[in-house]
Symmetry: C2
Subunit: 136 residues, 2 copies
């Protein structure tokens, strides 16, 4: 598979794929006769997983570290598991924090709705100029 096709199938740009190779997130692939990158389709699974790690807030440095361990093979299983466990914990905390903020947004949206309809609101929670003081 050439880089253009991998780009289409992975959703990453050609430039990003080459960048990922440069920084060590993906292995340098085989080259065809003309010196072009020729990827094994299995790389798609790895790229997807990298996308998950990224989407869940893992920075590029730690992703590179994980990729290095993966290259080392089965001997790095324990260390990889530990990284994933720490990351799992970080995700859980993020979800918790987001849930709290979601509730806050709901309260604030509700307050705004009541202010828009001219309903009385606890003056401790909003001043007349719309410079809301609470629920922040």
């Amino acid at each position: 598979m050439q880089i253009g096709e991998l780009s289409r199938r992975s959703g990453l740009s050609v430039d990003t794929l080459r960048y990922y190779e440069k920084v060590g997130l993906i292995e340098p692939p085989a080259r065809d006769g003309g010196g072009r990158r020729d990827y094994d389709p299995d790389i798609l699974r790895w790229i997807d997983f990298l996308g998950r790690l990224k989407a869940t807030g893992m920075g590029i440095g730690e992703r590179v570290r994980y990729a290095e361990l993966r290259r080392e093979g089965a001997g790095s299983l324990t260390e990889r598991r530990e990284i994933l466990e720490a990351h799992r914990q970080a995700i859980a905390e993020r979800i918790e924090a987001l849930q709290q903020s979601l509730d806050l947004m709901d309260d604030k949206i509700d307050l705004y709705g009541r202010m828009e309809r001219g309903e009385p609101v606890d003056p401790a929670f909003a001043d007349c100029a719309g410079q809301e003081r609470a629920l922040t």
Copy 2:
């Protein structure tokens, strides 16, 4: 309150506070006789709320837009509510995606644990070199 104290109480650096003022996230405060910024303690509530918006993924451009509307006062309530509703939706989607990834991490952590203990794993889910293929 001087900028140093606000920095300590808000958790933002002095530089960040001046930067936030420059880009329009916080209002230019009054100045004391010596030309130093003299903040109203109420600003802490606003800074906290800005922190929430940021922590939930709102970029600086949109935060600045929200801050502008807030300065306009009560007339911008509807537009602010609409922004918050859209943002609320984005947070809910983020939580959903994170929850899925969390489940994936759990599966993968479990798989690694079984591989470490030498337990048999479905060969479709892991190859011998530790180059796991599935759960990605």
